[in-house]
């Protein structure tokens, strides 16, 4: 009738494609639209009985799942299997995946289900239609891992890896890579087990040699697969960690550093603070120069100023010879305390109190003013309010004292660094906000 309804109402049945952005202005897709249409279209075709019953059945299953009625859901699922023979080809193709999702959820939670049932179901579902083979294999393997059956999982992954159907599509390729990566992870697992075994051996030449050989072969298998997955942009923390550990073990420090550097600094990868932490820890272990460490942490400071490693960063900066580092040291501390999760971090407060004292002694009052200027309109309420003073004093006196001291300096109420609690015992006297009464 008009462009509006044509576009808005284009009700695509189920389009699982990942963000196909061919249209210049893609319209919002509302899953409840069909309901509205059904309730209106009294003359419209309601579809076949078959479609109706299956959709009702699907609703029942979903409802039962959300009410944790696993038995009921499984009974309905038996009836739902008829969708595999739907005359609508699109629905028929979608059916195995839906059944797998529902079935695996039921079996995962059903009190009477066991690994055998799950495996039997997975094996059956893998071979219905070809599209889901890899996905189901991977999920099956993860389920087995969850149940501690590492070897079965490994076998499963191996099988899946060698599976081929027609030309490999992009999504298949991704899945294969993921399967290989998980296999690599399991190889790494065996490798690290062997390593502990080898280290426990006495220095018996032959046996050790054989074990080392064996271990080495696992390393090679694992490293190939892990190296592959790390190249794809993504968050691969576990894979990277295990790969680096193996590289380190074999003394390939440069390789390990390269992997970590790429993982942290490659712009194609999503921003990941863990990558920087791994790199920092690696460099620290390597006893890298402090400048190097500082440069790594500087980036982390920009991404996540609230990370607890920032306290370490502050110490590094404090120790450094450069004046700009000293200045940054203050900023780092202030930035930590900006975050709501760190307001009661007593270490940070005591560092800040100490550092402020040091800075003022070092005649760098302007740094304090600089750091304070962007915070002066909200820190007093955020940290030094009367309410918080009372609360802190009740819960943690040391924290209260540290905060009081800092507030004294920052709010400009202090002339010398001597704190005198006016009343000595019990509750301190509060002035305007948090500041304890400070005297010369």
């Amino acid at each position: 009738m008009d462009a509006f309804s044509e576009e808005l109402m284009g009700f695509v049945q189920k389009d699982n494609q990942v963000e196909a952005s061919k249209d210049p202005v893609p319209e919002i897709h509302l899953p409840w639209l069909s309901q509205h249409i059904q309730s209106t279209g009294s003359h419209g075709q309601k579809g076949t009985n078959f479609a109706q019953t299956t959709s009702i059945c699907l609703n029942f299953i979903q409802e039962a799942l959300l009410k944790h009625q696993w038995q009921r859901a499984s009974e309905f699922l038996q009836c739902y299997l008829q969708t595999l023979e739907d005359i609508n080809s699109q629905k028929r193709q979608m059916a195995p995946e839906i059944i797998w999702k529902l079935g695996s959820t039921i079996l995962y939670n059903h009190p009477k289900s066991n690994v055998e049932t799950f495996s039997a179901f997975a094996d059956r579902m893998k071979n219905i239609g070809v599209q889901n083979y890899l996905k189901i294999s991977l999920q099956h393997a993860l389920y087995l891992l969850h149940n501690g059956m590492v070897e079965d999982a490994y076998r499963n992954l191996n099988q899946a890896e060698s599976w081929r159907y027609g030309e490999m599509s992009a999504s298949q390729e991704k899945l294969i890579k993921l399967i290989q990566a998980y296999r690599g992870l399991l190889d790494y697992y065996t490798w690290s087990k062997k390593r502990t075994e080898v280290s426990s051996f006495d220095m018996d030449g032959f046996a050790t040699n054989a074990a080392t050989q064996d271990m080495h072969s696992y390393f090679r298998q694992a490293s190939v697969n892990l190296h592959e997955i790390i190249k794809i942009p993504g968050v691969w923390d576990t894979f990277v960690k295990s790969y680096v550990e193996m590289l380190e073990f074999y003394g390939d420090q440069d390789g390990a550093r390269q992997v970590l550097t790429d993982y942290a600094y490659d712009n194609n990868f999503p921003s990941n603070p863990n990558a920087h932490i791994y790199l920092y820890k690696f460099l620290k272990k390597e006893k890298a120069p402090e400048d190097k460490l500082i440069s790594v942490l500087k980036i982390l400071h920009q991404i996540v100023p609230s990370h607890k490693i920032m306290l370490e960063f502050h110490m590094l900066l404090k120790k450094s010879n450069k004046e700009e580092h000293h200045k940054l040291g203050l900023e780092v501390l202030l930035a930590i305390l900006d975050f709501s999760g760190c307001t009661e971090n007593i270490t940070a407060w005591s560092y800040l109190a100490k550092y402020l004292k040091q800075i003022i002694k070092g005649k760098h009052r302007e740094w304090v003013q600089e750091g304070w200027s962007s915070r002066k309109d909200w820190w007093p309420t955020f940290h030094f309010s009367y309410y918080l003073a009372k609360k802190n004093w009740k819960e943690n006196r040391i924290l209260a004292l540290k905060k009081a001291f800092t507030s004294g300096i920052l709010l400009g109420k202090v002339k010398h660094q001597k704190i005198i609690l006016s009343s000595g015992v019990g509750r301190p006297m509060f002035e305007s906000s948090f500041c304890l009464l400070l005297a010369e």
Binding site: F11, Q71, T105, W378, S385
Partner: protein, 860 residues
């Protein structure tokens, strides 16, 4: 204002925990109901969509039925549609005067034309007889008369229908929810804040006492504040011991501070030029808010420091999307906000405002979004209290899925779950754990009333699902627990329980021996329902076997429920707010002289008294048939009569009597038939009187004006307008016009005479306390004033009185407030009202007397 409680017991299971087993338990349903206003479920898809055959059954499609709506519009508001043209053409038509204008060749006599129409309309019937005169007239005049209406009104109508259909599919105004909970000074006390009233313009503060075991109790009547706009969102927060309530209306935002004693203290009101779409209170700094509007601007607002714009971009972030919806919330850093639109979520730093902050979420491959997926809700899940979860978590809901994101690790969601809700998920709340070390319940509410609960455990600081998600009983699930009602009552109850869910507030009362959770739900009808959920030990083996889902009621609950139902059923049924005139003017026009005089007298008398026009005013009532008496054994009775007669040897006499009797009714029937033919033309009049019968026995006259009042009012204005009109009309036509007017029930409502009773989109908001916070700030959200006593502006703002029936026609001062051009104003309102009221046509009021209408009549 009436408050009553309802409680029911719903079987539900909740708060699963990974290791601990559950048992079944009971929840209670309570409702604090305010039945001052009848509530009617507004638009439905049936009212807007084309109901014909769908051409492509494989691809379901919705088509807005503009033709049908326009058709209705032309019929019901012919005066608006054709009135102006009629005025223009008035000079050239003679409506039936005798001879006077015959000389002028430019004047056409429509007497015969009208006579040809003869009271009935072919309405698209292909076999209808058209006289040459009619044909000629429609060919010549049809294009002119039709096109104008079609172009001007059709366009506007189409636009309006589109917006309404879009709103029906996704009503984004209520994002965030309009129900807030403010914990009180004592651990088991608190206040619920929510809007009620037909226009959702009354903000209520209801004190509630919680109990570890029993149902919560409302303490006294709620205190309320009448605002000048619908409340869309209510946000509450207690920071550093200060309880704050922020309210978003369409063009205003306001902030109150709640004291433990005394009324809420208004802090500041903000007025926006563009519609506000989101408001949130800072979890870090007391009194700081983030506000965003449809212009794409996001501001940080605090009563102390005023407004600070930190982001402004009318374009969407990731790709182009037509929606101008924006949303803002806070992050773990008090100076960094998140700004959301339909395509994604991005950071905005208040210290260095710029339009290109880092993206936190985008609809795209990273989150493996589906095609057509859009952000519907974004929420910061951190709170000042230390939680087992990291304070950097954000929730994003789309129409398909729920995402959890960590602001330190942008773009890649930590968790994705397909929620499967069949209504937009616009409400979400993360609750503190019911007991230490327990997973945190995360509630998700769809506008359709469906609820989902997830259990987030923060072991290792990364959020995980501690148990499979579950659905909670929605309001409509409690229906089987109510007693069986009459169909009308049942429908009323169902509608009431099915009302959209517009608010959600959950409380975990501290210090309960058994961990429990209270769930308050606000429905669009203004009811607040309460549900209690208990943590139960997991009996996973049993729970899998059977799950009794029947609703059981405690005796006390039944009593409460009955009270509620009683008040609910007492509410007068909502009447169609405007009923089209269905007078057959034609008939009245061509009445014989003696009848005409009678009819006119009746009309005039009714108008003079300002009362309803009754059948008796126009003509004597046609004798109606007595309802056919129930004769259980008709033939047997006759037989027994005859037998009796024959026993008494009077068989022949009986037989004769029978023959006479059968002849007599036949005569009577034919007379009846003639009469009904005659009186059928009064159908409409009769139906109006029927209406009054329906209405009169109502226990309380409804506060909101019914069409009946309007009817009399329009009659008054008719008289007035007559007087005015007479001046500008040539003398020879006055009589015609008077005759014409005399029989017209509806005035020419192109002017201000259609009263605007309730304007749900009224544009200003003020508290009921004069001079305290009603601050009409000029245009830009940048400016605002605090505590400026402006008496005159106050009085203007306060003019909305639910009892004043026609604000616009009766009070010229308030009219000027809304628009400097009265002409435009009136057209706008009358149009608006007609469009608004169109959907309510299905109401059965006059259905009996209305012919089916398919196509607009052509020309006149």
């Amino acid at each position: 204002m009436e408050t009553s409680f309802i409680s029911s017991c719903l079987d539900c299971k909740l708060l699963p925990q990974n290791s601990a087993p559950f048992t079944k338990n009971l929840g209670l349903l309570l409702s604090l109901i305010f039945l001052s206003d009848p509530w009617d479920p507004e638009l439905m898809s049936q009212d807007l969509l084309f109901r014909g055959r769908v051409k492509q059954p494989a691809r379901a499609k919705a088509t807005i039925d503009v033709i049908e709506q326009l058709n209705h519009f032309l019929w019901d508001h012919g005066d608006i549609a054709f009135g102006p043209l009629g005025m223009l053409l008035q000079e050239n038509f003679n409506l039936g005067e005798k001879k006077k204008s015959r000389k002028n060749k430019m004047v056409m006599n429509t007497e015969w034309l009208l006579r040809d129409l003869n009271g009935y309309q072919p309405k698209g019937c292909p076999w209808a007889h058209l006289s040459t005169r009619q044909r000629r007239f429609s060919l010549l005049g049809g294009t002119v008369l039709g096109e104008e209406v079609e172009n001007l009104l059709g366009g506007l109508l189409h636009e309006e229908l589109e917006t309404r259909w879009k709103r029906l599919l996704l009503d984004e105004a209520s994002t965030g929810g309009a129900l807030g909970w403010v914990p009180g000074a004592k651990p088991h006390h608190g206040q619920l804040v929510y809007p009620t009233g037909r226009a959702h313009d009354q903000l209520n503060f209801q004190k509630v006492k919680l109990s570890p075991t029993n149902e919560p109790q409302a303490l006294g009547d709620p205190s309320h504040i009448l605002l000048r706009g619908p409340v869309r969102q209510v946000v509450t927060r207690t920071i550093q011991g200060e309880a704050l309530v922020a309210v978003r209306s369409d063009h205003h935002c306001a902030l109150w501070k709640l004291e433990h004693r005394g009324p809420p203290e208004p802090l500041q009101v903000l007025e926006m030029e563009k519609e506000a779409t989101g408001i949130s209170l800072s979890p870090h700094l007391p009194g700081e808010l983030a506000v965003c509007t449809r212009s794409g601007a996001v501001c940080l607002w605090s009563p102390q420091h005023g407004l600070q714009q930190i982001h402004k971009d009318p374009e969407t972030f990731v790709f182009k999307d037509p929606s101008s919806w924006r949303w803002a919330d806070f992050t773990a850093h008090p100076r960094v906000l998140t700004v959301a639109d339909r395509t994604g979520l991005r950071f905005a730093d208040a210290r260095a405002p710029s339009d290109c902050g880092e993206l936190l979420f985008r609809v795209g491959a990273e989150a493996s979004c589906q095609r057509g997926e859009r952000v519907l809700l974004a929420q910061y899940l951190g709170t000042p209290d230390p939680l087992p979860l990291s304070p950097t978590l954000h929730l994003v809901c789309t129409q398909f899925s729920l995402y959890l994101l960590d602001e330190r690790l942008p773009l890649v969601p930590l968790l994705k779950w397909n929620h499967g809700l069949l209504s937009p998920p616009l409400l979400a709340q993360l609750l503190p754990p019911p007991y230490p070390e327990a997973p945190l319940p995360l509630l998700l509410g769809g506008l359709g009333g469906h609820l989902r609960m997830l259990h987030l455990s923060g072991s290792g600081r990364t959020p995980q699902l501690a148990a499979p998600p579950q659905s909670l009983p929605s309001l409509i699930d409690s229906l089987p627990g109510f007693p069986v009602l009459e169909p009308h009552g049942q429908q009323l109850l169902q509608e009431r329980l099915r009302a959209p869910l517009t608010g959600l507030a959950a409380v975990v009362p501290p210090g309960c021996p058994s961990p429990t959770m209270l769930l308050f739900q606000l429905s669009a009808a203004g009811d607040v329902f309460y549900q209690r959920l208990w943590l139960q030990p997991d009996t996973s083996s049993e729970s899998a076997v059977s799950e009794p889902s029947a609703v059981s009621w405690k005796p006390r609950a039944v009593a409460c429920c009955r009270r509620w139902l009683k008040t609910l059923l007492q509410v007068p049924p909502t009447l169609p707010s405007w009923t089209p005139p269905t007078f057959s003017q034609h008939h009245l026009r061509w009445l014989k002289e003696e009848n005409k005089g009678k009819v006119q007298e009746g009309l005039r008398a009714a108008m003079a008294e300002g009362r309803l026009l009754l059948q008796g005013d126009l003509a004597p009532l046609p004798p109606s048939d007595p309802p056919p008496a129930h004769e259980p054994f008709g033939t047997e009775d006759k037989l027994s009569e005859r037998l009796e007669a024959s026993w008494e040897r009077k068989g022949a006499i009986w037989w004769d009597g029978q023959r006479d009797g059968s002849r007599l009714p036949r005569k009577r029937q034919s007379r009846e038939k003639r009469r009904t033919q005659l009186s059928s033309s009064f159908s409409s009049v009769r139906s109006t009187s029927d209406f009054s019968d329906v209405n009169s026995p109502l226990p309380h006259p409804p506060k909101t004006p019914s069409p009946l009042h309007r009817m009399s009012e329009t009659s008054q204005s008719l008289e007035l307008s007559q007087e005015l009109w007479v001046k500008n009309i040539p003398r020879e036509r006055r009589q015609t016009l008077r005759d014409y007017l005399a029989v017209l029930p509806s005035p020419d409502s192109g002017n201000c005479s259609i009263p605007q009773f309730q304007n749900p989109s009224s544009q200003s908001l003020s508290t009921s306390e004069p001079g305290k916070c009603s601050v009409p700030c000029s245009q830009n959200p940048r400016t605002q004033t605090l505590f400026s006593p402006l008496p005159e502006s106050y009085s203007a703002f306060y003019s909305q009185n639910p009892n004043s029936q026609s604000l616009y026609s009766q009070n010229p001062n308030s009219q000027s407030l809304y628009s400097p051009e009265p002409a435009f104003n009136s057209v706008f309102h009358s149009q608006n009202s007609s469009i608004q009221k169109l959907p309510s046509r299905h109401t059965p009021s006059l259905a009996g007397s209305q012919p089916l209408r398919k196509k607009p009549r052509m020309g006149f």
